[in-house]
């Protein structure tokens, strides 16, 4: 069975909510929709206080090339545009909307009928993906249309659909693959058409045999799409790792996947693309896992963007006693929230509740030079060295030792017996080295 070569770890999977079918979370009384939800330039609000909006109405525009539109996820009245604490703890502008009813834009097809025929042309697809605010749903929220526009001189050969969901606990993608398989496959075909490729690979780790079986069976009707089971190993969902696992191609250091002819999209994104292109539906809701060992009803909810995370926690049975950390995303790469009121955004894949014991880091001891961190690094780096160089502020040396290649997967820190905060330092180091590189460019 395929997998990537270098490094990797096997954290306990804890996919507690994997058998919970997707449920629609009731619409909250108020949503706070952050204006900047994607990588790249922030979008600009185009509604004002007091405006009435409908579900799916454009409320913030992405003007730049790498930016994305934002649509209302509810119908109601704009209360204000104000700062909220987002999932990373920073204050960011958001559009507050008080909900009234659930009135959708007329041009959105709300039926469940599957539309298999792809009538839109390549350009129409890309335009729609841009217009309807589709971004990568795997976490990084990179605007999807940008990935579909292959730069001059490069050629796309294969589309890769990421159904790996290698983060422990998370099950949102798993449920989408089981419950929205046909839509996902049509979405994949749409993406293939936009890229002009004949091949579409769907990579799924073999801890989801039901999804592999279901999609393999259905995919027979979709020419060019192949489903590949992958050996479970974190971080297989990393773009470079997934490409390596499926095609044995190695994206060169500092380059994008298109360099080796691949474009990677997440399963959730493929579903959103289907809904956008075939049903005219902007990206204003997504599947989010809410889970944790003490959570009463770990669930997979279909959530409107802008819903406060506290609503999901309530719906899952309330905050368990002793909860002392809330993670937005998975346990390996997610962010610890400052407040449970932070809103769900397009890139939110899950919410984890940890008790005191789970929240604590292990005690830090002296590094015993065991090389464990080096062995598990999927990028072939020396985490112990680059974190040390950062600590010593030797940024040039850190750059020479490829610190910028770090994908922040956390495997090194996860495995370190001495409990060293390796990734804390590496993140800081990447930030500093990034500054140095930018300044060099200016000169």
């Amino acid at each position: 069975m395929k997998t990537f070569e270098l490094g990797g770890v096997h954290p306990a999977e804890n996919k507690i909510s994997e058998n919970k079918a997707i449920e629609v979370l009731p619409i909250p009384k108020q949503v706070q929709i952050p204006v900047a939800q994607n990588l790249g330039a922030p979008s600009v609000p185009i509604v004002n206080k007091g405006d009435e909006v409908k579900v799916g109405q454009l409320i913030a525009k992405g003007e730049a090339f790498i930016s994305s539109n934002v649509h209302s996820s509810v119908s109601g009245k704009v209360l204000k545009i104000d700062n909220v604490n987002d999932q990373s703890g920073y204050k960011k502008p958001a559009i507050f909307i008080n909900v009234a009813g659930d009135e959708w834009e007329e041009n959105i097809d709300r039926s469940d009928t599957l539309i298999k025929d792809i009538t839109a042309s390549k350009d129409e697809i890309i335009k729609k993906v841009h217009k309807l605010g589709i971004v990568g749903l795997g976490g990084a929220a990179f605007p999807s249309h940008v990935k579909l526009m292959v730069p001059k001189g490069k050629k796309a050969e294969a589309l890769i659909i990421n159904g790996v969901e290698c983060e422990p606990y998370l099950t949102a993608d798993h449920r989408v693959m089981l419950e929205k398989a046909d839509e996902l496959l049509v979405g994949t075909k749409i993406l293939m058409k936009a890229l002009g490729v004949e091949k579409g690979f769907i990579g799924i780790e073999n801890n989801k045999p039901d999804a592999i079986e279901h999609l393999s069976k259905l995919s027979k009707e979709y020419k060019g799409i192949e489903v590949y089971p992958l050996k479970v190993k974190y971080p297989q969902g990393g773009e470079k790792q997934l490409i390596k696992a499926l095609t044995n191609r190695e994206v060169p250091s500092g380059k994008l996947p298109i360099e080796v002819g691949c474009v990677v999209q997440n399963v959730g994104t493929a579903l959103a693309v289907y809904e956008a292109v075939q049903k005219n539906k902007p990206l204003f809701e997504r599947v989010v896992t809410i889970t944790g060992k003490a959570v009463k009803n770990p669930s997979n909810f279909l959530v409107r963007i802008g819903t406060p995370i506290s609503e999901l926690i309530e719906a899952s049975g309330g905050t368990p006693d002793k909860t002392s950390k809330i993670v937005g995303g998975g346990p390996m790469m997610g962010k610890a929230l400052v407040t449970p009121d932070a809103p769900i955004v397009k890139g939110s894949s899950g919410v984890l509740l940890f008790d005191e014991k789970e929240s604590k880091r292990v005690e830090e001891k002296a590094c015993i030079r065991c090389a464990g961190c080096i062995k598990v690094c999927p990028m072939g780096l020396e985490p112990v060295l680059i974190s040390q160089l950062t600590k010593l502020e030797m940024y040039e040396e850190a750059e020479k030792n490829n610190i910028m290649d770090c994908i922040e997967c956390g495997s090194c820190q996860y495995t370190c017996p001495s409990g060293k905060p390796l990734l804390d330092y590496i993140r800081l180091g990447k930030f500093k080295v990034g500054q140095i590189i930018r300044n060099r460019g200016k000169k």
Binding site: V251, G329, M332, E358, E382, P417
Partner: protein, 335 residues
């Protein structure tokens, strides 16, 4: 709700700690410890206890009064040094010499560099080599094994190690085949029924411990395989060239401190290289230097010196042999 804990990812940690790693090594040393107690009886227990107690005491004292850091004697590392030091000395060594050895190992080789993780040389080896040079007589009068429950009553019989017999014999111009008649059988050597330091006598017990370390992934295959491989190949070539002057590889493998050195000293993570390429070079270097000293050097045994010399090269190996980076070589496989 209580205040939320906010920290950077990752939010989970492998069930792994310095203590677990260190005690894993201690468990791996148990078979050899049992064999040494069996063959050297109460003397072995005495040496082990004194060495361990002295190492723990020095670690505690220095950490508390000189370094003034949190107590480290629980982490298992000083315990390992104590056991390894005991394994590297004869069972009749006077108590005070053992304590001197423990002081050199913990006080000088480890704590003066800042304690766990910062010592460039393996502490137990430094202790041993210091004793060997300072107290050559006491360090090389090996009691002949006197198994527990055996009827031998005479005390304090000492004899040379097989490597010593070999070295002296060759120096006197004897042929290998004649020397071999004075040496215990291979079977005796394998189980440990030979003269030698406490823990190095039983190749089998050490091998079992080494396999345990490999299975638990506390050590990796690179250093042991490169070390053993280079010893076998190097001595094999010499033996094939002239079997009357050079002894066969099997003899080299199961005598002296080789197995102990290969699995427990060369693989010491603190003082060995981190990348697998570096580890292979390190293992090869240890093997070659060991054989050179054993065959042409003044000492019958070369394992300790070999490992210490390679320890000194470790920072260089870490700098010169980097792990294979992802995306370094563009491999495009058009299928």
């Amino acid at each position: 709700m209580n205040l939320l804990t906010v920290s950077g990812s990752p939010h989970i940690h492998e069930d792994n700690s310095v203590k677990k790693v260190m005690y894993g090594v201690v468990y791996a040393l148990i078979p050899a410890m049992l064999v040494s107690v069996y063959f050297f009886g109460f003397d072995a227990v005495r040496v082990l206890l004194i060495s361990v107690a002295a190492c723990l005491l020095f670690e505690w004292l220095i950490q508390k009064y000189l370094i003034k850091g949190p107590a480290t004697i629980n982490d298992g590392s000083a315990l390992i040094t104590g056991i390894l030091l005991a394994f590297n000395v004869p069972s009749n060594l006077p108590i005070w010499i053992i304590i001197v050895g423990a002081f050199v190992a913990i006080g000088i080789a480890k704590m003066s560099f800042g304690g766990l993780g910062k010592n460039p040389f393996n502490p137990a080896l430094v202790g041993r080599v210091f004793l060997l040079i300072s107290f050559p007589v006491q360090m090389t009068s090996w009691p002949v094994p006197k198994p527990l429950f055996s009827s031998v009553v005479t005390d304090a019989i000492t004899g040379p190690t097989p490597l010593g017999i070999l070295k002296d014999g060759l120096r006197d111009g004897e042929k290998i085949s004649d020397i071999m008649t004075q040496i215990p059988s291979y079977l005796q050597q394998l189980v440990g029924d030979i003269g030698g330091s406490l823990g190095e006598v039983s190749a089998i017990a050490l091998l079992i411990g080494g396999l345990y370390l490999l299975l638990r992934k506390i050590i990796t295959w690179q250093i042991p395989v490169a070390y053993l491989g280079s010893v076998i190949i190097f001595t094999g070539i010499l033996w094939l060239a002239n079997p009357e002057q050079f002894v066969n590889p099997l003899f080299h493998l199961i005598t002296g401190g080789l197995m102990l050195g290969v699995f427990f000293m060369a693989t010491d993570m603190v003082s060995s290289p981190m990348s697998s390429k570096g580890q292979i070079i390190f293992g090869l270097g240890c093997g070659i230097i060991t054989v050179v000293i054993r065959i042409w050097g003044a000492y019958p045994e070369g394992v300790s010196f070999a490992i210490l010399i390679m320890n000194a090269l470790t920072p260089l190996l870490n700098n010169s042999f980097k792990p294979k980076r992802f995306g370094e070589i563009v491999k495009i496989d058009h299928k």
